[in-house]
């Protein structure tokens, strides 16, 4: 029965030191837990809702319509020469994954306080599984985009000039970056809300404000060139911008900007990871 257990297996309990908060071997042993947490998220999320996963289609469509009316029609913001509907929908495709990951992971300790107080497992599994489970919503949203894109390609004049480029293959990398930014911020917020509970109210505002400083309802090209680097320090700017480059052949791509954006992303993600690991060790004592 216990043949799969290494006889030299040993857990050493002590005050941990150092920056690296996780043990890859241990994470591997808990891979089944990751699978089951994903299953739990997926099968429990839409119990007792009327529309179920259809919300993933409805929500970005409503957002897009609101943007089209307010920013497109009323404020007359430019959309890089794209049909406004496609422009906003593409922006939201990048943004929503980031935002849902941030919201799903931003309060990990408080939400799981009871469970964490009763049993040990690598805490990182929880935000990781939340990040992956948000992909389900993203995929549904992506298909919505594809449907509307196909409509524009075949039924409107826009289709005559537009081409689908090989750049579209970069899409998974862009989404990974969006996920890392969301998760990195989620790590930070989790660690901070574990200590200062009132920060959980800030999460909502943070997402809203962040959305408006990201070139989502306006193109990056609207920002004067000498100030663009400032906008790029917000790593989501390049995520949104390069997604439009990949899928719609519109927007501006600049290698320097991309490298800067990646640097900020990695800094955010790994600093968050270290902080999360630090709080994880004794979080239970402060509940």
């Amino acid at each position: 029965m216990m043949s799969d257990i290494n006889p030299n297996f040993e857990i050493h309990i002590r005050k941990r030191k150092g920056l690296i908060p996780f043990d890859i071997q241990e994470l591997k042993r808990y891979k089944d837990l990751l699978v089951l947490l994903l299953y739990r998220d997926f099968s429990s999320r839409y119990k007792q809702t009327v529309l179920g996963p259809a919300w993933y289609v409805i929500q970005p469509l409503i957002q897009t319509l609101v943007f089209t009316v307010i920013f497109g029609k009323v404020a007359q913001m430019p959309t890089d020469g794209l049909p406004p509907l496609l422009f906003y929908l593409a922006g939201l495709l990048a943004w929503n994954y980031h935002a849902t990951v941030l919201q799903a992971t931003g309060n990990t300790f408080q939400v799981n306080a009871n469970l964490f107080g009763k049993v040990y497992f690598p805490r990182l599994i929880v935000p990781f599984s939340a990040t992956i489970s948000q992909l389900i919503g993203w995929v549904i949203q992506f298909f919505t985009f594809v449907v509307i894109y196909t409509y524009y390609m075949t039924m409107t004049p826009f289709g005559k000039e537009a081409v689908i480029s090989w750049n579209a293959l970069f899409l998974p990398l862009i989404i990974i970056q969006a996920g890392m930014i969301g998760l990195g911020t989620g790590f930070w917020l989790s660690a901070l809300t574990a200590k200062y509970r009132d920060l959980q109210h800030i999460q909502q505002f943070l997402v809203q404000i962040w959305m408006y400083i990201t070139p989502l309802v306006y193109p990056l090209s609207m920002i004067p060139e000498k100030w663009q680097w400032l906008a790029i320090l917000n790593p989501m700017s390049m995520v949104v911008e390069s997604l439009k480059v990949c899928l719609l052949n519109a927007g501006s791509f600049n290698l320097q900007y991309m490298l800067l954006s990646l640097l900020v992303t990695f800094l955010l993600f790994f600093s968050g990871l270290v902080l999360f690991g630090k709080v994880e060790r004794t979080f239970v004592d402060t509940v």
Binding site: I13, D32, L37, S43, S44, G117, V119, K195, D198
Partner: protein
Amino acid sequence: MNKPIIEVSNLGKCYRLGELGAKSLRDELTQLAGRLKGNRAPERNRITDFWAVRDVSFQVKKGDVIGIIGKNGAGKSTLLKLLSRITEPTEGEAFIRGRVASLLEVGTGFHPELTGRDNIYLSGTILGMSRREIKERFDEIVSFAGIEKHIDTPVKRYSSGMYVRLGFAVAAHLNSEILLVDEVLAVGDVTYRKQCIEKMKSLAKEGRTIFFVSHQLDVLSNLCPRSIRLHKGELTGEGDTEDLIQDYLKKDDDSNSSSDSIWEGSEGDDIAKIESVKLKANDVPSDNVDIDLPIDVEIGYRCLKDSARLNASVILNNSLGAKVFSSPNLPSAISSEDQWGYQPHSKGTYVSRMTIPANFLNDGLYSCDICLSTDASHTNSYIESAVSFTVHDTGSMRKEFQHAWWGILRPKMHWKTEKTD
């Protein structure tokens, strides 16, 4: 492998009181502002260190079943949390050579919306099993919990009994070498508790190492041959469970009594003081009493003020801390004539003797609180757990029935059966 399966050395956990609990950012800012202005932190926020566990070292051999005995706040739960890695020690270290499953609650990780089947997998993996291992034991778990019919029902529709049974079933079938168990058995009905204890015993027989915390000393002594004892965060004893339990039931460690059956001292006010308490069986001081012998509690007290209406009282507690009875020496509350109870005393020393009849208490551990009062209302002295004793089953009532005898008491009652047709 000869190394002990659990090796703990100088383990300590310090909590910073005053800093406990998540604070709001506002508190922190006001505090910071105060400090900038040159004020000291307000008194209530002053940080003090509190060692919940300190300098604890012990070893456990593979296959041992170890109990942890200690009062509330002695550090039992903290020790369990450290060993199960829920929180990190402040100092010292421990080695655990095997997989650990901590059962600090029943139904760890259950999600109410999911079915029993899904929750078995979820809870099992949270507790450290792989899906393959759970699959192998799935049928066993379901039949142990007795929920075959409801296995595809969401657990939020389960009765609390079913929920608890399923939770324990998952935990009991974990494939880990070491089990850390905290009071899990305290919930549920009698049959269920019995089932749990049987399961734990059979796990122990399979060679699992079990670490067990419970306030129910009878369960501990039933399950764990060996124990460790914690007192105020420190390890104060290690060895035979029965011995440690007796030690535990004694008055606090600063007691000046040499034996559990005798208390000597001088406690009280300027009216009267208790000076001695003795337990006697057959007129000999004894803390081990046969079930078919009467037990005498002798209370020696001194009256310091003429014409005080004094009376002594005995409050008997069982091993769970429940009050079995209290008996004040007041004329209307006793079955005999007493010359002095609730009568004006003259200065001097007195001895009151109360007798607990034979064949009245059940077997087990008991302790006596002793009280001395004036006018049946003013308490001159109250000594908690002044003396304690163990009642042993001699078998005199067991010529027919052999199993566990339910109840706090085991009196011989009057019975009469008549044929009615």
